[in-house]
Symmetry: C2
Subunit: 277 residues, 2 copies
């Protein structure tokens, strides 16, 4: 099965909420864990445990594991394995990007079955052009994995670049969305190459055509602390709303080890209600 097919099944059966695994130093402290590899491992395993019967998708933030070097990344390997063993779909949020064989090496690292960092999908960043993603795309498709390409992001510093006009007349973000749409049209049903589109944004102002999202998975940060409301899911993403993965991290993790299960259940219900409305 392709990643898009697997994701479609997860979204339909287990809903659109994705729990972030972001072991910020301040959260480790709030959770009474050490700011070290053992603390990272314990934090990650507890979030996986809380998520496993309540949602279908988790997203570890690689930067916080990398901060502790190879020992931190060995902890991430254990968290990735535990999440996949629990039947969760795992999006490694690493925002990798490069060209040619170097970008292929990143894709292999995260998307090869049996590799230490195996995840189901990887976030990628494309200052080097959407064309640079074609090698990683082939690697992903070849092993039933997926990618999420940054397109329009919820940070204010991103708009200048992402709304810049290319020689063809489209925006940078719009041209990425269009290329990914073309790729996904080659698959049946939901495609395997997703986009990151911040929920706080006006997609029209970024030059994004909603018709280009219909068979594309959307990873959507920006709910909660950043201000977007889950209840607005249909208004924000239109016909693509059923393809949206609602990414929530701090609003869930800040509930602490004793409150995380309830926080996940409450937000998962909000997502279901927003789509049922």
């Amino acid at each position: 099965m392709s990643f898009g097919q697997r994701l479609r099944a997860v979204l339909d059966v287990r809903g659109g909420l994705c729990v972030g695994i972001d072991p910020h130093a301040f959260l480790l402290e709030e959770w009474a864990l050490g700011d070290d590899a053992a603390g990272l491992r314990e934090f990650g395993l507890r979030v996986v445990d809380a998520a496993s019967d309540r949602v279908g998708i988790v997203k570890p933030q690689v930067a916080f594991f990398e901060r502790h070097g190879s020992a931190g990344l060995a902890a991430l390997e254990d968290v990735l394995a535990a999440a996949r063993d629990a039947g969760l779909l795992v999006i490694a949020d690493a925002k990798r990007g490069d060209i040619g064989s170097t970008f292929d090496a990143y894709a292999s690292a995260w998307l090869t079955p049996g590799s230490p960092f195996e995840a189901d999908a990887l976030t990628v960043s494309t200052y080097l052009g959407i064309g640079s993603v074609s090698g990683p795309r082939a690697i992903a498709l070849g092993s039933g994995k997926g990618l999420f390409v940054l397109a329009a992001t919820s940070n204010t510093e991103g708009a200048s670049l992402q709304t810049a006009t290319t020689a063809s007349g489209s925006t940078v973000a719009g041209s990425i969305v269009e290329e990914v749409h073309t790729w996904n049209a080659e698959e049946t049903g939901l495609g395997s190459i997703g986009l990151v589109l911040g929920a706080t944004l006006d997609l029209d102002a970024f030059g994004i055509d909603p018709a280009h999202l219909e068979s594309t998975p959307v990873l959507a940060p920006g709910f909660g602390h950043q201000g977007a409301r889950i209840a607005d899911l249909r208004r924000l993403y239109g016909n693509a709303a059923p393809n949206v993965i609602v990414s929530a991290s701090r609003s869930i993790l800040a509930a602490g080890p004793s409150g995380i299960a309830a926080a996940i259940e409450s937000q998962a219900a909000e997502v279901s209600e927003a789509l049922a409305a």
Copy 2:
């Protein structure tokens, strides 16, 4: 001392050649090493050994270590430590990028004195906007470290995005170069925030003002296999030529363990001659 000051001294005394440490699978095979963590470690240590009395700068390509998971990255830690112990300036070519505290976590991972991945500088990628680099910049400056921000790259897929026109009328690449110029003007002498500018490019066609490069380090891939000639260094970069780090990987590594020392010496001499001319 700032990174810019340290780099200036290295460029003046040891020259502008930077030896890439890119353990491609095919190179490991050519070097009769295993495609595993032990092979990566041995490859990296041999390149460091060959580089240490011949040049001042090395640049490990992180993707090839990441391909082997945390064990590959533990090998990278040993290579980074050996290079720094040998007095080499180390640029970790990881092309990291994110926003806010997440990007800060990447900067901390690679630029904190005493951290497992400690390097002297880190390459970063800015689809999320040059403003997203301000946190990592503060971290770098606070510990005498540097960054190299992708601006205009030598891959053909990059031009569409990098030459797109922002609302202010400048190109994406040009606006990054200008912002970095402003940052470096706050330091004395060579600044600590460098740019990646491919040697195969016409900087003018990317909307880059050469006056913005005068106190900015330039990491320049594109020589050798990709077609740029070291002898053209002054023609390509004008007054900024003395700030240019000539990055060479395959053309050196393909010489194999028995030929690498001679390949480094020959290219280092070419760089010196190009600048003396």
